[in-house]
Amino acid sequence: MKGMTIIVKTIASWVKVLIFLFGISIILFGHLTPGGGFAGGVILASSYVLLMLAFGRDFVEKNLSLPAASKIDCLGAFLFALIAILGFAFGGVFFVNYLVKYSQPLRLISAGTIPLSNIAIGIKVGASLFLAVLTLSIFRLRQSTEKKE
C-alpha cells in the first residue's frame, strides 16, 4: 500500500500528534464527559490509520509491528482483568470499586477504578483496531500481487 502526495504527508505528520492527544484526553476524562475507553481507543487507532493512509503500510509497520501491537492488545486485556481480580481481592466481589473511598466526586482523579478501566480499555481497543486495519491491508497486498501475475 503506497503513500500519498507530499501535501498529505506533511499535514498528516502535524496532525497525528493532535489526534493522539485528543484520544488520550477522551480516555482520561471518560468518567466526567462523554467518551470513555472505547471512543478514545478508536481515536488512538485512527491516528495510526491516518499515518498508514498517508505514508504507506510499510512505514507504519516498521514503527509498530504486528507482534508488538498484538502484545499491547493482550496487555490491555490483562490490565482490565487485573483490575477486576483486584476488586475480588480487596472487596470480596469481582469488579468492586475499591478506590472510590479515596476520591472526591467530579474531579479528574475520582470515581475509583473507573478511569483505570477506561485506560485499559482504551489501550486494548486502540491496539485491536490498528491490528484489524493492518491485517486487512495485508490482504490487499497479496491480492494485488496475484493480479499482476
Binding site: 464527559t33 470513555g36 472505547f38 467530579l106 486487512l136 490482504f139 490487499r140 491480492q143 496475484e146
Partner: protein, 127 residues
C-alpha cells in the same frame, strides 16, 4: 410513530441482506439492521425537552464536594434523558464493529479464493 420507522429501517436492512447478490451489499444490509436496532434503543431513552445526563460542578453545593440531594438534583433527574440505553448502544456499536470487521475480512478472503463477489457463483457446498 418514530419507533415504527425504526422497524421499517430494520426491515429494509433485512431485505437488503436477503435479496442482494453482491457480498458487500449483503454486509451493508447487515450493518443497516444493526444500526436500526441501535437507533431504536437510543430513541427509547429520549425525553422531549430533555437535558444531557451529565453532572457537572454546578450541582455541588459545598466546596468539599459532598453531593446532597437538593433542588437542582431533583429537577435534573426529572428532565434528563435516560442514560442506560446510551450505555447499551455503546456496547452494541462495539459488537457491530467487530462483527462487520470479521465479515469484511471473510469477504476479502473469499475474493482471493473464488475471484468474485457474486454469491450465486460461490456454491460449492450443496445438498
Amino acid at each position: 410513530m418514530p419507533y415504527a420507522l425504526c422497524f421499517l429501517l430494520f426491515m429494509i436492512g433485512l431485505y437488503c441482506a436477503v435479496v442482494k447478490k453482491n457480498m458487500i451489499k449483503i454486509v451493508i444490509g447487515l450493518a443497516v439492521m444493526e444500526y436500526a436496532a441501535n437507533l431504536f434503543l437510543i430513541m427509547l431513552g429520549y425525553r422531549v425537552g430533555g437535558v444531557a445526563p451529565i453532572l457537572d460542578k454546578s450541582f455541588l453545593k459545598q466546596p468539599t464536594g459532598q453531593v446532597a440531594p437538593t433542588e437542582p438534583i431533583a429537577s435534573f433527574i426529572n428532565t434528563a434523558v435516560d442514560p442506560l440505553p446510551q450505555a447499551l448502544v455503546l456496547t452494541a456499536i462495539v459488537i457491530g464493529l467487530g462483527s462487520t470487521a470479521l465479515i469484511i475480512s471473510m469477504c476479502i478472503r473469499i475474493y482471493e479464493k473464488y475471484g468474485t463477489f457474486d454469491i450465486t457463483e460461490i456454491r460449492r457446498l450443496k445438498g
